[in-house]
Symmetry: C2
Subunit: 127 residues, 2 copies
């Protein structure tokens, strides 16, 4: 678990690439079924993850997706893609192109940075 509050939580997807899933705490089937404030928070959380991934991992391209066909529960995928990953330029669900050989820095400083940014953005404002 990278981050959690009353509305959302973020966790890693096990992968050769940096891949994070953003879930709502309450289950909704479709993005537009989420209350407005929660949907805005999902978009904002994705933006924070994307910016942090670009800054830290310097991917060739960011990929975003929200499917939920197997388990119809809203979650957003944020994926940092590299020309030398196993599927590029196909989506991560596409046809394998090669044996991936992505070299990545340690995830721990990234996770600390991302968690801090999410807390700063969404943390309770105290007087």
């Amino acid at each position: 678990m990278i981050y959690e509050d009353a509305d959302i939580y973020l966790e890693w997807e096990e992968s050769e690439i940096p891949w994070i899933k953003i879930f709502t705490q309450s289950p909704y089937k479709e993005i537009t079924e989420c209350p407005d404030a929660l949907r805005a928070k999902l978009w904002k959380a994705y933006e924070i993850v994307e910016e942090a991934m670009i800054e830290y991992f310097r991917p060739d391209k960011m990929n975003m997706a929200s499917f939920g066909n197997y388990v119809p529960r809203v979650h957003i995928h944020a994926m940092a893609r590299f020309k030398e990953d196993s599927f590029f330029p196909e989506p991560m669900w596409g046809t394998k192109q090669r044996e991936g050989r992505v070299q990545l820095p340690d995830f721990e400083p990234f996770e600390t940075m991302l968690s801090q940014r999410l807390h700063e953005q969404f943390g309770e404002k105290k007087d």
Copy 2:
């Protein structure tokens, strides 16, 4: 072309399912490189498309994606998915599961409705 204004345009992707692509007029590589107002408009446009597709086509699940690995230019895919389409529950970029046999109503009334809603949302407000 389903809709166009100074910031965005929407067009159909040829497919067995209802599939719309939302582009920015100015090319940006990543979603977070878009100016705030444009990014907010992209999310809003996706929401309007998703709601209209759910209402008109009654899909089993909505799918959203933004890749741009082949052409690194921001665009969002909105896909109405059905249990009997060729790929469900895989993403449209996944492994084919069957010969699709999706029965869909005429797209024209949908396109008229969607275009109206986008104009209402984004049209110039006149005094």
